[in-house]
């Protein structure tokens, strides 16, 4: 169980963070410049906020109220900073062995060798960081942090500069080590897929504050803000007005000329709402099949069909109003459905796929 409370004011930035996590892998997620790195540095003991409290299991590491501050040396955290922080004057082997100086040379050598092998760095032990590629540097930094078997691992965008194959392998490695030694892991990443794959618990930052915490699945389904929604791939976000309650737990939203039903019962009629749905939650309705029901069926025109990597991305516009809708399909499905630009089609957006935000006001960065 890790509890973190930080408060610090810079001339033009205020950090005011408060969270608790007991997850194996905690992901700090959020835009640029919101205080993720500062938070991680505070946990490592490298940045002391004006006010703060940090507790890891039974140990209190920081309590400004009691002027308690355990120095970084005593915290035994593995820390990989944003630019890896390799020692340029030491070889790869020496970098990795840095934290093991109190170990017998033979054992140290063996531990370093094992770690280099695990990180696919065999043969590079005698190079200097300046002679390594970006990805190699990153793995050295990871190895150096892991080899000391820290109590807590803090990775500040430590898996970024890797090619997909290696990254996947390293993710597995990190997970394995993390499971084997049961080291709680804090991970800063901008890669949603990575955050979803590795993270058990997310802490979402915005402008120096924590705006949402929870399991990734929950955040994917119910993002607290439109901004988080966009970050986790909910590309279709719109404003509408609550129109009626046709049944218990069902709300009708007027969206331009269209009406959509959502599974909510707590929204007063007349209220402005922001709502959204994921591009993969849009279903094309076969013209040759009868409709099971009549609601949430929209007439759209196909603007563009793009093959983007492993996905087929389709841009639509509603026939009335011309609102833009993103749809994501597997390429094979795309081909099967024979979707072509210029077509007029019908789509279905299921009621429970539509998420209504509790925040009021204009959606930030609306698509």
């Amino acid at each position: 169980m890790i509890r973190v409370e930080l408060h610090h004011t810079f001339p033009d930035f205020t950090l005011d963070v408060r969270f608790t996590t007991a997850a194996d892998v905690t992901v700090l997620f959020g835009p640029s410049g919101v205080g993720k790195s500062l938070t991680v540095r505070a946990i490592a003991g490298l940045f002391t906020p004006h006010r703060g409290y940090i507790q890891v299991e039974e140990e209190v590491w920081l309590d400004t109220a009691r002027t308690l501050h355990i120095p970084p040396q005593k915290r035994r955290v593995g820390y990989v900073p944003q630019h890896y922080g390799l020692f340029p004057h030491l070889t790869v082997g020496e970098n990795v062995a840095f934290g093991l100086r109190h170990m017998a040379p033979g054992e140290r050598q063996q531990r370093v060798q094992e770690m280099l092998t695990l990180m696919r760095l065999e043969g590079l032990a005698d190079r200097r960081p300046g002679e390594l590629s970006g990805g190699q540097q990153q793995r050295v930094a990871l190895a150096r942090a892991l080899v000391t078997q820290p109590r807590l691992l803090l990775l500040d965008e430590a898996l970024g500069a890797l090619d997909p194959v290696l990254r996947e392998e390293l993710r597995e490695t990190v997970r394995t080590i993390q499971h084997r030694y049961r080291i709680p892991l804090f991970l800063i990443t901008h890669d949603v897929e990575e955050a979803a794959l590795l993270g058990d618990y997310w802490i979402v930052f915005e402008e120096g504050r924590v705006v949402q915490t929870g399991e990734p699945g929950e955040i994917f389904r119910h993002p607290a803000t439109p901004h988080i929604a966009r970050a986790v791939g909910m590309r279709n976000i719109y404003t509408g007005v609550v129109r009626a309650h046709p049944a218990a737990g069902i709300t009708e939203i007027q969206w331009g000329a269209t009406v959509l039903q959502v599974e909510r019962g707590d929204l007063p009629v007349g209220r402005d709402v922001i709502f959204g749905f994921r591009p993969e939650d849009v279903l094309f309705v076969r013209e040759d099949r009868p409709l099971a029901h009549a609601h949430n069926i929209l007439c759209v025109r196909v603007d563009e069909v793009r093959l983007v990597g492993t996905d087929c991305v389709i841009l639509l516009r509603t026939c009335e109003g011309g609102e833009r809708i993103h749809v994501r399909l597997f390429p094979t499905v795309c081909e099967d459905l024979r979707i072509r630009p210029g077509q007029r089609r019908r789509i279905l957006i299921r009621r429970r796929a539509i998420h209504v935000f509790d925040t009021a006001g204009h959606p930030k960065g609306m698509g």
């Binding site: 540095r41 490592a44 490298l46 970084p72 040396q73 820390y79 020692f87 340029p88 840095f98 300046g130």
Partner: protein, 221 residues
């Protein structure tokens, strides 16, 4: 008549440089890391031995460490009198060369990436270890430059040394003083020979030091 001053000079310069490192590095570190008007003033103060004419500096040292001063008498009672001994020459050379170490090392310490020190801390390294395993090696080029200058200056010091250590042939006559003597006596040949020996020795040592540290971890690769 030529080798004894040379050995003495080398010994004096070596001790003075080591002493300069021992005292100058901590001061340089503080100068580089603490930002306050007091520290700035201290930084400027450390340049003063450069500003004073060597003989005058020597005079003050003579007064401060001489037999008439409590400090001098204390040292004498300990059996390590300074003035008119080779230790006095070390004192003099140390005073004139330490500022060079402080300034150079200070600039080098200031340029070290603090993040690397932070990483070392998280790896459990004590502040002492962080200094020796990270800060020092990264600042090494600047420290080396300062050390080379200090060594050269210590070798070449004459005014201060003469004042504090006198000129006792075989005991406190350093190479610089021997050369001065020769020049003043108009013995140009001997002076030239001594200068040649001194400069070649200095060159060799400076080159050697540079080479050695070049190939240490942390040197430019």
């Amino acid at each position: 008549m030529m080798w004894s001053p040379l050995w003495l000079s080398l010994r004096v310069a070596l001790f003075a440089t080591l002493l300069g490192l021992a005292t100058g590095l901590p001061i340089a570190y503080i100068l580089a890391r603490k930002d306050s008007p007091w520290v700035d003033t201290l930084g400027a103060l450390t340049n003063l031995p450069l500003v004073l004419p060597p003989t005058v500096l020597g005079y003050y040292l003579l007064v401060a460490f001489g037999y008439n001063s409590p400090l001098g008498r204390f040292l004498d009672r300990l059996g390590i009198p300074l003035v008119f001994t080779w230790r006095g020459a070390v004192l003099a050379a140390w005073m004139v060369s330490m500022p060079l170490i402080i300034q150079s090392a200070g600039a080098a310490f200031a340029a070290v990436d603090r993040e690397l020190e932070d990483v070392a801390r998280t790896l459990g390294e004590s502040e002492w270890g962080v200094f020796w395993r990270v800060t020092f090696p990264l600042a090494r080029p600047g420290i080396l430059a300062g050390t080379l200058m200090a060594f050269a200056r210590a070798l070449g010091d004459f005014g201060t040394t003469l004042m504090v250590a006198g000129n006792i042939p075989g005991r406190t006559q350093t190479m610089a003083i021997a050369i001065y003597d020769a020049v003043q006596m108009g013995d140009q040949q001997r002076a030239n020979a001594l200068v040649l020996v001194l400069t070649l020795t200095a060159l060799a040592i400076l080159l050697l030091l540079r080479r050695l540290t070049h190939h240490l971890p942390g040197g430019p690769t």
